[in-house]
């Protein structure tokens, strides 16, 4: 009760007690390379931290007359199930049932949004402490007011299912809140012990399940406003094309067209319906300036080890002598990857005398607010970004600056405008997963263990150039921390090991794609280790276990490797036309290992079974963590076995599902078993880490079955 602050109004506004330590704060200490490397190591193993704008008196919780709690989430829901985990935390600390909680994405005008983004698999981990503290504080606030209303002592009150009672008298949370304009905010109460939680740690059903099964209009593209018009914007197909001029004479005459808008270097049609906007768009002829027609070959030549900016991200012991007769070396590559999320990008915007409202699917409501305000020349507090449920994120929506164009169109026509990308535009204007090129070098010692291991890798931008990270960070750290994910060698007992990153900015945008560098880096490193195991005549699991410490954080990696091998009954000898493959990785402090079982059918790789061991610390919702593992494994298979963008005639292609080959129902393994190890007492990242090992695990199985080492993604026989 000490330090009680008076805050006004019905908004329940709880703040304080938020940790804001994050990777950005580290930059200032970093000057020299050896220090940089230790910082990079820290970045990889830091606990998730919340980066919210927690100093403003904004809306966290609302209580409705029906005695429901509405939580305004600083993080968005894109399928990862974090809204459900937030509800679990609130339910347990606020003493309400799950069905008494609604979670919505916080709008920038009224709520607290994460200043960085929703991404990095950090949502649940970063709100783990602050959200439970807020919920507990809220519960105590309600008790303080209830005591007054019931004329009893606070200490005599208990709470359950949103009702406060002293055994004789009861009052609901909603009844307590009614009419109160000033609240006393107590010191943050002590949290309940983990063992007493009724929802946290239990496999509860997603709270958005019914909405998603019965077709509720919850996604960005489902939003409506009165008198809304529809827009199509023309975007270039060729890499590097810039706008020259447009002939829009026919479009203006097309049915339903309200206005053809040309602003700076882009053209759009605004019409009464989206179909009309598309039909009119077809009649517009744009002349593009194309300085250069890029080819796949040129791009590949730019992107290779030895070209671009070098950063040694890991350095233990000596470098391998290039003249050494025992040196083994292999080259691996991965292609350009598309996000291909099923809900196209778009936005619904209303410009009303300088007041701006945008509803859209975004991972960066805060950044979108800043960029829209800058572009339209209005104060930030005039811009309300309302994040909807995302029809897939995967990193694609870490830049949603098309919101700016949509607002400009609304301003031009004086009505709300909804804009939607076509699928071709999605494929050609994506912020792709960069292609990579890897040279692995290794040497066995006389004991048959790995004596030296080096990972040299080249990548396009991931973190560098991204709107959510200041350029400063990359200059300070000297490396692309996104491309680095999974790039370092985790086998600390290899006497000499190092990782060297070569960074190149490519002529088309590349950026975040679920798990960033992890998928390709792990493919290269873990495939090569399998090859070294074959050369050494050793079981690849035993070799791995022999080269990793059983202490500290490394023990967690050791344990998942051991558990996956045990649960998957890993055997390195093919049997009955099937072979097993093994691989492991650690990403954002969550190690994962997979055992896969494959056969070859009609000259295609068939994955029958995946057994996964995963340590993501404390598991808040086992059902949804399992779902994330299943999804990450199949999406990882899709990226490793099927997907590939290429450059043809200066364009990125293909531009439609089908030609952009992806895993379908028939490719999904019939068995996916996930086994958890709890190697930490806090929730650690979930959504991305289990993607890491899948490509290498499949390639290693194919190697053992066919003798053929596949070194390029997607894996083709």
């Amino acid at each position: 009760m000490s330090k009680a602050k008076k805050l006004s109004r019905r908004k329940f506004l709880v703040r304080g007690g938020l940790g804001t330590v994050g990777v950005l704060a580290l930059g200032t200490y970093v000057f020299r390379n050896p220090i940089r490397r230790s910082i990079l190591k820290m970045v990889e193993t830091l606990p998730p931290s919340y980066m919210g704008s927690g100093t403003e008196a904004n809306l966290w919780f609302e209580l409705t007359q029906e005695n429901k709690v509405i939580f305004h989430s600083p993080k968005v829901e894109m399928g990862q199930g974090s809204f459900t985990s937030f509800a679990q935390m609130i339910a347990d600390e606020m003493d309400v049932r799950l069905d008494q909680i609604e979670v919505v994405g916080a709008a920038t005008k009224t709520g607290i949004v994460d200043v960085l983004s929703t991404g990095g698999s950090l949502s649940v981990g970063s709100l783990w402490q602050p959200l439970r503290e807020l919920a507990a504080t809220m519960r105590e606030m309600l008790k303080i007011e209830a005591a007054k209303k019931l004329s009893v002592e606070v200490s005599s009150l208990t709470t359950n299912d949103g009702v406060i009672s002293n055994g004789l008298k009861t009052i609901t949370y909603a009844e307590v809140a009614y009419g109160i304009t000033e609240w006393n905010i107590p010191d943050t109460p002590e949290l309940k012990p983990l063992s007493s939680y009724k929802f946290i740690g239990k496999p509860v059903k997603r709270i958005d399940l019914a909405s998603k099964v019965f077709g509720d209009p919850i996604f960005g593209l489902d939003a409506e406003m009165p008198e809304m018009l529809h827009a199509a914007i023309i975007r270039p197909s060729k890499i590097g094309a810039t706008f020259n001029s447009a002939d829009t004479s026919k479009a203006a005459q097309m049915p339903g067209v309200v206005k053809v808008v040309q602003i700076d270097d882009w053209v759009a049609v605004v019409a009464e319906s989206y179909a009309q906007a598309l039909a009119a768009k077809r009649t517009i002829k744009v002349e593009w300036n194309i300085l250069k027609e890029w080819t796949e070959k040129e791009m590949r030549e730019m992107l290779r080890v030895g070209k671009g900016r070098l950063m040694i991200t890991q350095k233990e012991g000596d470098a391998i002598d290039e003249e050494d007769d025992e040196l083994v070396s292999m080259i691996f590559t991965s292609p350009i990857g598309a996000h291909a999320q099923i809900e196209p990008n778009g936005a619904l915007a209303d410009y009303n005398n300088g007041d701006i409202t945008v509803v859209l699917s975004t991972q960066v409501p805060g950044k979108t607010q800043e960029f829209v305000a800058d572009a339209l020349g209005v104060d930030k507090d005039k811009v309300n970004i309302i994040p909807a449920y995302l029809g897939g994120g995967f990193g694609r929506r870490l830049n949603t600056n098309h919101a700016i164009q949509t607002v400009q169109l609304s301003k031009a026509v004086g009505k709300p405008v909804k804009y939607i990308f076509t699928r071709k535009e999605e494929f050609q204007n994506d912020l792709f997963r960069p292609p990579t090129h890897h040279i692995m070098k290794g040497k066995l010692g006389s004991d048959g263990l790995i004596d030296s291991l080096e990972h040299h890798y080249a990548s396009g931008d991931v973190a560098i150039g991204a709107i959510i990270l200041p350029g400063l960070l990359n200059d300070v750290l000297g490396t692309d921390i996104g491309a680095m994910r999974g790039g370092n060698i985790m086998y600390d007992k290899i006497p000499n090991h190092r990782a060297e990153q070569w960074h190149t900015t490519l002529p088309f945008a590349t950026s975040w794609w679920r798990s960033l560098g992890l998928l390709a880096n792990t493919f290269a490193v873990e495939s090569f280790i399998d090859e070294l195991a074959l050369k050494a005549g050793k079981n690849p699991v035993e070799l791995r276990l022999a080269q990793i410490s059983k202490e500290g954080n490394q023990k967690r990696i050791y344990d998942v490797i051991q558990l996956a091998a045990e649960k998957g009954n890993y055997n390195d000898t093919p049997m009955n036309g099937r072979a097993m493959g093994f691989a492991a990785s650690t990403d954002s402090n969550s190690p994962a290992a997979h055992v896969v079982e494959v056969s070859i059918e009609n000259n295609q790789i068939k994955v029958h079974k995946v057994i996964c061991a995963f340590d993501c610390g404390f598991v808040v919702n086992p059902d949804q963590v399992r779902a994330q593992c299943e999804g990450a494994i199949i999406m990882g298979m899709s990226a490793s076995m099927f997907e590939k963008m290429t450059i043809e005639d200066g364009e990125l292609t293909p531009t439609i599902y089908g030609p952009y080959d992806m895993a379908l129902m028939k490719h999904a393994p019939k068995t996916i078993d996930v086994h958890f190890i709890q190697g930490a007492d806090i929730p650690l990242p979930v959504g991305e880490p289990p993607m890491g090992p899948i490509g290498a695990a499949v390639a290693n199985a194919v190697r053992r079955l066919t003798g053929k080492r596949l070194t390029d993604l997607p894996l083709k026989l």
């Binding site: 023309i234 094309a241 598309l278 077809r282 002829k285 071709k424 089908g658 030609p659 379908l664 028939k666």
Partner: protein
């Protein structure tokens, strides 16, 4: 001085090197596509050759596959998403021709359509056969659905699904689909004349 001239010319080269390309945005439909008409001198099998030039085109072969899998586009790749013949030449129970293909082409989606969109029955496969083998198969009642010569002519010249080949619409990327190499009226005349003249299939 020399230096500035050099810079000036460099700029000029850059500008002149810039290609100005055009693009119709997302969906393009160029209806002015006209097939080349071949002039040949007194080919004794002119009618047969014109007909077979059409029949060998992907617009025809793609729906007469030899492996129960419809083919797509000018490269004749297998239909995406594992679409196959099914039990009745119309695909599977919940993903069949009519799930995506209607009675007309769809310019919004680029999905082609015509009445009776389906695969030719399995015995009528043409994919992988020579011109001569296809012609023989076409005239063989065992492999042509029991058609008489007259009925075959009708299928080849009147069936709306066949005639669709000359109005194949636009592809998913918005560009026009290729049409057969012989104009429709010329093709029709050639087929009729070939049948009327005894449907002679030359050795080569």
């Amino acid at each position: 001085m020399k230096k500035s001239i050099f810079l000036y010319s460099l700029v000029l080269i850059l500008i002149s090197g810039a290609v100005v390309a055009s693009n119709y945005g997302d969906d393009v439909y160029d209806s002015n596509l006209i097939a080349p008409i071949k002039k040949s001198k007194k080919d004794p099998h002119e009618n047969y050759n014109k007909m077979m030039d059409v029949i060998m085109s992907p617009r025809c072969i793609n729906c007469h596959p030899n492996d129960h899998v419809p083919k797509q586009a000018d490269d004749g790749h297998p239909h995406y998403f594992g679409i196959a013949r099914g039990e009745n030449n119309h695909g599977f129970q919940a993903i069949n021709c009519a799930t995506c293909h209607q009675n007309t082409n769809n310019d919004y989606s680029g999905v082609p359509g015509a009445p009776e969109w389906s695969l030719a029955p399995a015995e009528m496969f043409w994919e992988g056969l020579s011109r001569k083998e296809i012609a023989e198969s076409m005239m063989d009642p065992v492999r042509n659905g029991g058609r008489t010569a007259e009925e075959t002519m009708h299928h080849l010249t009147e069936h709306e699904l066949v005639l669709w080949a000359w109005q194949p619409g636009i592809k998913a990327d918005g560009t026009p689909r290729e049409i057969p190499p012989v104009p429709l009226d010329e093709y029709k005349k050639a087929v009729k004349a070939w049948i009327a003249n005894g449907a002679v299939i030359p050795e080569n």
